[in-house]
């Protein structure tokens, strides 16, 4: 949908731009809704470099506990696990985005510690069977 201005040069009309952006926006809204309403699992998987290093089924946790992960450079992240929820309570990364994310439990938002390449996601299945049942 192109319109010409006084100088005869053609432009895409504002209406066409708005329609295009509205369609993109609608698709994103639908995607977000799908993301938020999907039935999440109850298993928290901790990944470093997309490799699952720890799994715990949050629905089976009766007594809260803490666990610290240290990478090969000595950087550490400490998680707190309670029934139905998990959070990062301490990290020696510079930005602390992971700690600020707070508790997660419903799977919509992951906890990500970019400086340490660590991701915690709530999923249906444990990604390995070591440690898959909480003590």
């Amino acid at each position: 949908m192109k319109t010409a201005d006084k100088t005869g040069k053609t432009y895409i009309s504002t209406r066409a731009w708005i329609v295009g952006i509205a369609v993109f926006f609608a698709v994103c809204v639908v995607g977000t809704v799908l993301l938020l309403v999907q039935k999440p699992g109850t298993v928290a998987n901790v990944y470093r470099d997309n490799e699952c290093i720890y799994s715990v089924d949050l629905s089976l946790v009766t007594e809260g506990f803490e666990k610290t992960f240290t990478d090969e450079n000595g950087h550490s992240n400490t998680i707190r696990v309670e029934n139905g929820r998990i959070r990062m309570i301490a990290a020696d990364c510079p930005d602390k985005v992971c700690v600020d994310t707070g508790w997660i439990g419903n799977g919509a938002v992951p906890i990500v510690c970019l400086p340490h390449h660590l991701v915690i996601r709530i999923e249906k299945q444990p990604q390995n069977d070591i440690d898959s049942v909480a003590r």
Binding site: Y11, I18, I21, V29, L34, D95, G102, P110, V112
Partner: protein
């Protein structure tokens, strides 16, 4: 080429023909962008999701682009990202800012040729979305977790909303600049 610029853009061309004036304009815009960037950092995040923020400092890059020119916009953007990241922010976030900024700049460069002055808000929206795309791409590459792509729709929604806001702000600012000249 000179005439093309004069026809379309809004800070008085006599003002930007002088290299010194142009440098002053660029420095002024970069300075304002840095201050806005700092102020925005003081506002606590509205959502726990990293990556969602208003991006008000982009208003200044848009003004530089449409009121002065592409080179000036790049200068304002780079000064704001590098100084902002090193002085106020954390250097670890610099890579994300740079990736987002680079992609958003490329998109704005394409739109610079395409848009009429009244359509600047569109550039704000597409830049914000491009910025989020760049940040997600870096996050996926660094954590090697493709599943992060699932959060793109969320950032797309926030990009359209915040981009509309910054784009409209830039459009109004440019209109006002036009009147004062």
């Amino acid at each position: 080429m000179e005439t093309e610029k004069e026809k379309k853009y809004t800070i008085n061309p006599d003002h930007t023909r002088s290299r010194t004036r142009r440098l002053v304009y660029d420095a002024l815009l970069a300075g304002i962008a840095l201050v806005i960037f700092w102020v925005e950092l003081q506002i606590p995040p509205l959502t726990p999701i990293p990556g969602i923020k208003l991006g008000l400092a982009n208003v200044l890059s848009l003004i530089a682009l449409f009121a002065i020119g592409p080179v000036d916009a790049l200068a304002v953007l780079l000064v704001r990202i590098l100084l902002g990241g090193l002085v106020f922010g954390n250097p670890s976030a610099l890579l994300y800012s740079l990736a987002g900024g680079a992609l958003s700049y490329l998109v704005s460069l394409m739109l610079y040729k395409l848009l009429r002055p009244g359509q600047i808000f569109i550039c704000g929206i597409l830049c914000a979305v491009a910025h989020n795309v760049g940040q997600i791409a870096v996050a996926v590459l660094i954590t090697r977790t493709p599943a992060i792509l699932l959060y793109f729709p969320l950032l797309g929604v926030s990009g359209v909303v915040t981009g509309l806001f910054t784009g409209l702000a830039a459009g109004f600012a440019i209109k006002t600049l036009e009147k004062t000249n």
